[in-house]
């Protein structure tokens, strides 16, 4: 009792002085509140993972970032935000990036232990608004310089459209940051892209000091969500998204080429197998494969569940994971397909290969493992 009374007096003396600060702001804002330390961090919603060295970095809800592997402890990193993190990109043993909701982009330079906020949704809103203003100026200039009425009319129409977009952006500004980044990829410590909802594409060439809005780099007027960036051979990059969105870049994301999509539903992932074939997959068990990267063949995987993530195993097999704990294991040479289902039956978002045939699954039930049967020789 005495101690409490004393503590009360001390805090009364200090109130109004520099030391008295509230524990958190009056209104809780997950975007700027550090991720809570959670004993059960491996059991929360985890959606993305990447390998680095012998370890993995895993991201998920409440700003959770974990590093480790299944034969070591998983360690929770210090993260300055509590929003749902959707993806992670490992540059090298030190540098890695993570992306998440409310426009959060994070970077670690010490192998994933400490993370700092490199972008937040408020900055993103300003960036996008400035980009729209710049487009507006360019359009107005173009209208003045239009060579004929027809062109001017077209440009006026585009300007109308743009001012409608700017109106929307102003409303967004009032609401606050709502857009999630859905994927991030860095080619090296300087050059990288972050993509997400409503066609957002950001690119940096100076390690995240400055970002450029590159939404127009692909043909996506409607603003479909961009779900995934998949690096391929020779600095190539595959971009996929909603409504069969499919594009390819060969210059580290500076420019994109639209590909003929084999599918008009949403694509959630893509991967290159050992032979360099491109696999894309998505809604309702739809899987397509392409040898040349241009013409796709539909593969009948016997599942109707969404396929959210995939991985080429070290033995050459491909595993696609999805809802209801489904795992489709495909032998690319023979096209033999086996369907497995994790006993938990909960949706899986991403997969990494553990030791041997054990796979690490990330999803609604957190981090789970599953021992796949060995490949038939």
């Amino acid at each position: 009792m005495k101690r409490i009374a004393l503590a009360g007096m001390v805090s009364a003396l200090l109130s109004g002085a520099v030391l008295s600060q509230p524990v958190v702001a009056e209104t809780y804002d997950p975007l700027f509140t550090p991720s809570p330390t959670a004993p059960r961090a491996t059991q929360g919603l985890l959606v993305g993972a990447e390998k680095f060295g012998q370890k993995f970095v895993v991201v998920g809800d409440y700003g959770t970032i974990l590093t480790g592997s299944n034969n070591t402890e998983w360690q929770q990193s210090n993260v300055p935000t509590s929003v749902l993190l959707t993806s992670v990109s490992v540059v090298d043993e030190q540098y890695m990036w993570a992306a998440g909701h409310q426009g959060a982009l994070l970077r670690s330079t010490d192998g994933g232990q400490e993370w700092s906020m490199m972008m937040d949704g408020h900055q993103l809103l300003e960036l996008e608004y400035a980009w729209l203003q710049q487009k507006e100026e360019e359009l107005i200039a173009a209208i003045e310089n239009a060579e004929d009425d027809y062109e001017a009319e077209e440009l006026e129409y585009a300007l109308d459209e743009l001012s409608f977009q700017m109106g929307g952006a102003e409303i967004q500004y009032e609401v606050g940051p709502t857009k999630p980044f859905l994927d991030v990829h860095f080619f090296n410590r300087e050059v990288g892209l972050a993509v997400g909802a409503y066609g957002t594409i950001l690119r940096t060439t100076d390690g995240g000091q400055t970002w450029r809005v590159e939404n127009d780099a692909i043909d996506n007027v409607i603003g479909y969500h961009i779900n995934k960036l998949v690096p391929g051979p020779d600095q190539s990059l595959i971009l996929i998204g909603e409504a069969g969105l499919l594009a390819r870049s060969d210059d580290m994301g500076a420019s994109f080429e639209m590909l003929d999509s084999p599918y008009h539903g949403s694509l959630f992932g893509a991967l290159f197998d050992d032979s360099g074939n491109l696999w894309v997959y998505g809604l309702r068990g739809n899987v397509f494969v392409s040898e040349d990267g241009y013409s796709f063949e539909a593969i009948d995987v016997d599942t109707r569940y969404n396929l959210n993530g995939g991985l080429a195993l070290s033995d050459g097999r491909i595993v696609l994971v999805g809802h209801a704990g489904v795992m489709a294991v495909i032998e690319p040479d023979t096209m033999d397909i086996d369907i497995f289902s994790h006993p938990s039956g909960s949706p899986i978002s991403d997969i990494q290969q553990g030791i041997g045939n054990e796979v690490i699954l990330l999803g609604r039930a957190g981090l789970q493992t599953f021992a796949l049967p060995a490949a038939s020789q």
Binding site: Y28, L84, G176, L182, H264, R284
Partner: protein, 789 residues
């Protein structure tokens, strides 16, 4: 011995003149008989209307902060809470069988016809509100789980299986192993048409007769789980207590006869004690109180205490007859000799019971009131009516003859107990008691607060209800230990982004608390809905800042997750168990979170749900535990001191009681019985009634000591005067409550077991430890204080 009795009788005469009370009583004997008869008829009429009442509100500490908060939002929470879950299990094959599906449809239909069922809220795979949905390239598609053209064929069953898988009802309405399906049945607490409150007992019986017995067969089992069923089973079990009462009466009559060998006086004692019970029940009905599964103990205690005091009267009456007194004089003298002592003992019982009032839980207060009324009634029936009746009826010749025969004998046990007045034996007995106390205190360290068993702790672990509950817990994803925190916001603000974001963090905080299985709330639904509206993509499973998007995400939310004016959102925390440690940890973490994230906009209120209420009950019990012991021992010590005016005497009487208290706590700990609403009063009752033995024995012993007899002689005298009565009282009390051990209600069985243990242990403690302690404290004859036997 005869001399002593004579001396006693003369003593009583020497006490003089008939008191005013005695004259009033015996001069107008017939008048009083008629008054008692009239009152008994009147009160019997009212007692017959007493119905067992298992109202939840009375079993919980209504003034505790948690419960007050729960009451504040009780109506909002009831939409979520009061439901039963009926599962239909097939022991052959799985649920994809046309006959099984036909049966499930029938059960669903039958249940919907029961009064009290909220039909529109019912969910089963056969209700049209249970649908599957799927995102396709063209948007959402979906339909009812039962295919439109269902006809029981292979194809339609295959279609049904597929619909079930994509409806997300596995683990909810369909067992994880596909061998049973579940019907979720929300209840209307108040019938919306008639405005009548739901009669749980009747509802439970109709579930048994119209659902369980109608549809169960060789390969179909039906499990029913839910609060309404617990209450129904509780009342069913409580009604069985009536049978126990009859058994206790029969046994007691047998013992009375064995003791007195006189049918007439045995019947009179029994009659007066039953009249005491009738009065007690009639009076509690008249004062508007009811009888609950806890206070049902009171008639048993009243009956047993009535019998034990009645025995004293009869004993004296027969002795007076043996001495040649007339019917009337025998009764008069008995009354004269005993009414002061009886009154004192009864007053101390009543005062002991009233210490239970420190526990702020309605059922315990009712128990305390009922017990005090009962004891007061015994004063009238067994000290007043009983001697009047014996003055008319007299006693049988056989009884008088038996009394004459045994008066001369010395019971062989007396010699045994008398040895404890010798130093060697005294040291031995006290040493064993000390060793056992140390062991008992060590054991009692593990004593838990609250209920420890899983399922419905009110019922036995192997009761049908708890087996059903275990079945549903094993086959469906559900815990029955539910702790609800109410997130209170300004009206209309319950789903504002800032509030949902904080609730989201709170939810994750609680999910990380050991003992928590899962947390569900409107936030959980909103996050699921966000993923759902984004083609099931988990990367969208986050609360959005945009209120329009939030509204869309919760459009499919089940009812009850926000209240009508959107000022409260319950957060449902599913726990592994309801151990006190778990509940305290959860409550503490809720407070810690509120302290870490201070805000004006969300107030995380504790607590509702069965586990939340239990946390409050545990707190009240834990707080009351020590206070109650202090009170009851305080009262006993004061009473003993007033009576005997000696610290040593008080120690001699109270230490054996404390020994019993310690041993009963050790017993509770060993048997896994927690300190709870049912068992805490038992300790007070045990001490309050247990002190009687000590008072009887010590007062007689003192009588002889004052005459200069040695301790050994004095104790032998006390034994000869009261030894049998003490033994008889202990056994009657024990038998009265021992029948409870077979009650289907777990806490009644616990009460019966503990009380039986305490009554017998107190009796032995008094008979062995009082002389031993008296020896060690060097209690001796008044004239030669230094001489010790």
């Amino acid at each position: 011995m005869q001399d002593l009795n004579k001396a006693n009788a003369m003593n009583a005469e020497a006490h003089g003149k008939a008191s005013f009370a005695e004259n009033m009583l015996f001069r107008y004997r017939m008048f009083w008989v008629l008054v008692f008869a009239a009152l008994t008829a009147f009160l019997l009429y009212h007692a017959a209307q007493v119905r067992p009442d298992a109202s939840l509100q009375k079993m919980i500490p209504a003034n505790h902060e948690f419960v007050q908060n729960y009451f504040k939002y009780g109506d909002d929470l009831s939409a979520m809470g009061n439901a039963i879950r009926v599962s239909v299990e097939t022991t052959e094959g799985d649920i994809f069988d046309p006959e099984y599906q036909d049966l499930l449809r029938q059960v669903t239909d039958e249940i919907s016809f029961l009064n009290g069922v909220n039909r529109s809220g019912m969910r089963s795979i056969w209700t049209p509100n249970v649908r599957w949905s799927e995102v396709t390239e063209d948007g959402f598609v979906g339909g009812p789980v039962i295919p439109q053209n269902y006809d029981g064929t292979e194809e339609s069953l295959a279609q049904l299986r597929q619909n079930i898988l994509r409806s997300g009802t596995v683990g909810d309405l369909v067992a994880n192993n596909f061998r049973s399906a579940l019907i979720y049945v929300p209840l209307n607490e108040i019938d919306p048409e008639t405005g009548e409150a739901l009669d749980y007992h009747e509802f439970s019986q109709r579930l048994e007769s119209e659902i369980r017995s109608q549809f169960e067969s060789e390969n179909i089992n039906i499990q029913i789980v839910g609060f309404a069923k617990v209450v129904g089973d509780l009342i069913d079990g409580a009604l069985l207590v009536g049978v126990f009462f009859i058994i206790a009466m029969v046994i007691t009559f047998g013992m009375l006869f064995w003791y007195s060998r006189c049918v007439r006086s045995s019947a009179v004692v029994l009659l007066c004690s039953v009249i005491a019970v009738i009065w007690q029940l009639g009076i509690i009905k008249l004062i508007g109180s009811g009888i609950n599964p806890y206070s049902m103990l009171v008639p048993f205690l009243v009956f047993a205490i009535g019998v034990s005091h009645g025995v004293q009267i009869i004993n004296a009456v027969v002795a007076n007859h043996a001495d040649g007194a007339s019917k009337l004089d025998a009764s008069r003298l008995a009354f004269r000799g005993l009414y002061i002592a009886g009154l004192t003992a009864l007053v101390s019982d009543a005062v002991g019971f009233t210490t239970l009032m420190v526990i702020d839980i309605a059922v315990i207060k009712e128990l305390a009131i009922a017990a005090s009324i009962g004891v007061a009634v015994i004063v009238l029936t067994n000290l007043g009516l009983l001697p009047i009746l014996t003055s008319y009826l007299g006693v049988s010749k056989g009884g008088v003859a038996y009394m004459k025969k045994v008066q001369g004998e010395e019971h062989p046990m007396f010699q045994l107990f008398d040895r404890f007045t010798q130093r060697k034996w005294a040291i031995g007995a006290v040493s064993i008691a000390v060793i056992m106390s140390v062991w008992g205190i060590y054991q009692a360290q593990n004593l838990q607060i609250g209920d420890l068993d899983s399922g419905a702790p009110e019922l036995r672990a192997d009761s049908r209800y708890n087996l059903d509950n275990a079945f549903q817990v094993a086959n469906y994803s559900a815990s029955t230990d539910i702790f609800v925190v109410m997130a209170e916001t300004a009206p209309g603000e319950c789903i504002a982004y800032e509030n949902l974001a904080l609730i989201d963090r709170f939810q994750w905080h609680m999910e990380n608390v050991p003992g928590v299985q899962a947390v569900r709330s409107i936030v959980y639904v909103s996050k699921l809905g966000m993923a759902g509206t984004n083609e099931g993509n988990l990367k969208w499973s986050s609360v959005n800042r945009d209120n329009f998007i939030i509204n869309a995400s919760i459009s499919q939310a089940p009812s009850g997750l926000i209240n009508n004016d959107c000022s409260m959102a319950p957060i449902i925390i599913y726990l592994n168990d309801h151990k006190a440690d778990t509940l305290n940890r959860v409550a503490d973490e809720v407070r810690n979170f509120s302290a870490d994230y201070p805000t004006d906009s969300v107030n995380f209120l504790l607590a509702a749900g069965n586990s939340g209420i239990e946390a409050a009950t545990n707190k009240v019990i834990d707080d009351a535990q020590f206070r109650m012991l202090v009170w009851v021992y305080g009262v006993v010590i004061v009473l003993c001191f007033i009576t005997f005016r000696s610290i040593r005497t008080v120690l001699c009487i109270v230490l054996p009681l404390m020994f019993t208290t310690i041993m009963s706590q050790a017993l509770m700990s060993m048997l896994g019985i927690g300190v709870k609403v049912a068992t805490l009063p038992v300790i007070a009752l045990g001490v309050g009634i247990g002190v009687d033995y000590g008072i009887y024995i010590y007062s007689k012993m003192r009588e002889a000591l004052n005459k200069g007899e040695s301790l050994a002689e004095s104790y032998l005298f006390a034994l000869s005067k009261t030894g049998k009565a003490v033994g008889f009282t202990g056994l009657t009390l024990a038998i009265g409550v021992a029948t409870w051990i077979w009650s289907p209600i777990k806490f009644q069985a616990d009460m019966g077991l503990l009380l039986t243990f305490m009554f017998i242990w107190n009796m032995l403690g008094a008979l062995i430890l009082i002389p031993a302690l008296a020896c060690l404290f060097r209690v001796g004859p008044k004239s030669e204080p230094k001489s010790i036997a």
